[in-house]
Symmetry: C2
Subunit: 403 residues, 2 copies
């Protein structure tokens, strides 16, 4: 239980995604990291690692190594100070009680429900996750797709996000999103109408409803799926927390689909995380006249995202190689498609109303008389042409559908 | 002049794009080819070449070579018979008179106005072209883009085709299309409103207005640009002629842009020609809910076409490498984008109404006190925050635009 208490404390000390804290935990475990922070002194090896990251960050600038190391030491002291300053606000007992009160549960790495794909995040892996809902996080995400996009969505984006949310759910894929207005909400709703679990990763505490107008949506998600948060209870969403949260959405799923995104959209931040994490990235095209599709088109043009137009195409991307191929879009096949090129040329040369003799038809079609006679026989048998006193003409209603 | 007379006759004997006829002309010249057809006997070398193409066509099927050769001889006799049967209908004098009457001119390979890029068509290069209009074909096509798409166009497709027609014309690119309803007409009209030449390649005689409702459009194209046809005067359009015509649209231009196309659209035939001819191929994305964009999306997904959303992006594709780069789509840059990540974190932690002291802000932001003090100073100077009796708060109207 000490491990969980330590993690709950660390969640209060550092902002989500703080990779310096993550590294300290990776090196010393949550309890060891907490002990060093409480002592107000980080070990020398860690300080050396930190100075190294600063040096690498400054690579290429002419500089005095000692000055850089001094600078790193000052910087690390400041980070430590910001952590220790928050020590007093941490109260794991209260956090656990708050979670219990609303019915949320805490999972930590190593728990059976922990999604191990989050290990791909390295030092920015969350210390723990608050889960609020009926579904199992690991099972809901093992075959899942993230659907992300603009909050300022068009009716087209809402429609497409809902269709993908439903279409992926129907085919057994979990839908991960951010619970926001616009594309996120539509994707969750699409999954919910299919009675499928859906996962909303929040940028605030699991007990905070943001946006508040999604109160009912979140209630439905809890019943069928999960609300997930790496923030401590009661924490409000801020701009940086949204951006940091996006890495979880990308990491939990096999691939990220951008439904609608302007060229400055948080969804493109999630797309970037997906690419960094070697997850599949796809984007739905839209009208080139719509600014909210410009981000999608840029991703497709850059080759960063695959152009995806149906849920089946998304599954082809994230599914088993060769095993989940999407059907090629095909138009209808008309009976006349089955005719040989020569027969089609003859058919084109047969007049509509007054009949024409085989010699005239041969001239018009540019084929010889024997060919015309044999083709006309076949076309008559198939119902395309008919005999009239002056030769042959098209039948008013041929066997094909559209001409 | 005999060369022109012979070519006019050959245009009457064979359908446009007949590569067997093209090969005969390539081997013996138009007059030599015509002499052999008139004599009713093709030379032995040509018959051997023809038998060779049949053998190569039948490669892989177990077969008796002699039988294949006999079959080829029969087939070639039939082709020759279909040509000779049309000899009586050919009347170059009348064709020239008809052309003169409507004000059209005939150009043949070697003429100054002949677009040499048509040589890429090999044996299916047209024997000659009827031109009807004020513009110079060679100059109009040397820097040109083909805009093609469905006849059954949506308002979106009409809008986009017109915008591309106008946008490419404004930037000095000729617009080549097929003069049909839908995308073709919109592309021509877009070029016409920019007073730019535009080229309509017809699937019928240059004196035939098809579709008839495009009478006024064709008149405008003739005034500013050109109607082009490889068909003899008076010939009606047929389905095969449309398909064969498409190769000219692809060959005349540097690249083909598919604006809207269902998965069964003649525009995809033009796209195929563009690819075969090593021309650039691009497609405009559209709503995934629109069947008339499905062909475009398939081309993009297959990697056959580049996703293009603006005329500038099309010119980037067909223009000089590195010299005609399209601007990257970018959103607006807000003043707060200039702030350092640390300053932004502090700004996020400053309350809206009641002020907060630096220590509280430091805790909320997760940075140390020194950093907060220095960031608050900068933020106050830039107009983001203001002092109030109880500390600092956000200014009601910060320097940024949207929050």
């Amino acid at each position: 239980m000490n491990d969980r208490f330590a993690r709950l404390t660390l969640m209060r000390l550092a902002e989500p995604g703080d990779a310096v804290m993550g590294r300290l935990v990776a090196a010393h475990g949550p309890e060891g990291a907490l002990a060093q922070i409480r002592a107000g002194r980080l070990d020398a090896g860690f300080a050396r690692w930190f100075a190294g990251t600063r040096r690498r960050g400054a690579a290429g600038t002419a500089g005095d190594e000692t000055a850089l190391d001094d600078d790193a030491a000052v910087k690390l002291d400041r980070i430590l100070a910001s952590w220790t300053a928050r020590l007093e606000t941490a109260d794991p007992d209260r956090d656990l009680a708050d979670g219990e009160r609303i019915g949320a549960r805490l999972i930590v790495p190593g728990d059976p429900e922990w999604p191990t794909q989050l290990d791909d995040l390295g030092d920015s892996r969350p210390h723990a996750l608050w889960l609020h809902g009926e579904a199992n996080l690991r099972f809901s995400c093992v075959r899942s797709v993230a659907i992300v996009g603009s909050r300022a969505v068009t009716p087209y984006g809402t429609h497409v996000a809902t269709e993908f949310g439903a279409g992926l759910s129907e085919r057994g894929y979990g839908v991960v999103s951010g619970g926001a207005y616009g594309v996120d909400g539509a994707a969750h709703r699409g999954a919910l109408v299919c009675d499928a679990p859906t996962v909303a990763v929040l940028a605030c505490g699991a007990d905070v409803t943001y946006p508040t107008a999604h109160h009912d949506l979140f209630a439905a998600v809890r019943t069928q799926g999960l609300l997930v948060s790496e923030c401590p209870m009661g924490v409000r969403p801020t701009r940086p927390r949204f951006l940091v949260r996006n890495r979880l959405i990308a990491a939990l799923s096999r691939g990220t689909l951008v439904v609608e995104a302007a060229v400055r959209s948080g969804a493109l931040n999630t797309a970037g995380h997906a690419t960094e994490l070697n997850r599949h990235l796809a984007a739905v095209p839209g009208p080139v006249t719509s600014e909210t599709s410009a981000g999608c088109h840029r991703l497709i043009r850059q080759g960063a995202a695959t152009c995806v137009t149906t849920p089946a195409e998304m599954i082809e991307l994230v599914g088993a190689v060769g095993g989940d191929l999407a059907p090629e879009p095909r138009g209808p096949v008309f009976p006349r498609d089955q005719l040989s090129p020569e027969t089609r040329r003859v058919l084109e040369a047969v007049p509509t109303r007054a009949g024409a003799g085989p010699a005239i038809i041969a001239l018009a079609a540019g084929v010889d008389l024997d060919t015309v006679l044999s083709c006309l026989g076949g076309l008559a048998a198939a119902g395309y042409v008919e005999r009239v006193p002056r030769g042959w003409r098209l039948r008013p209603s041929p066997p094909s559908g559209p001409p």
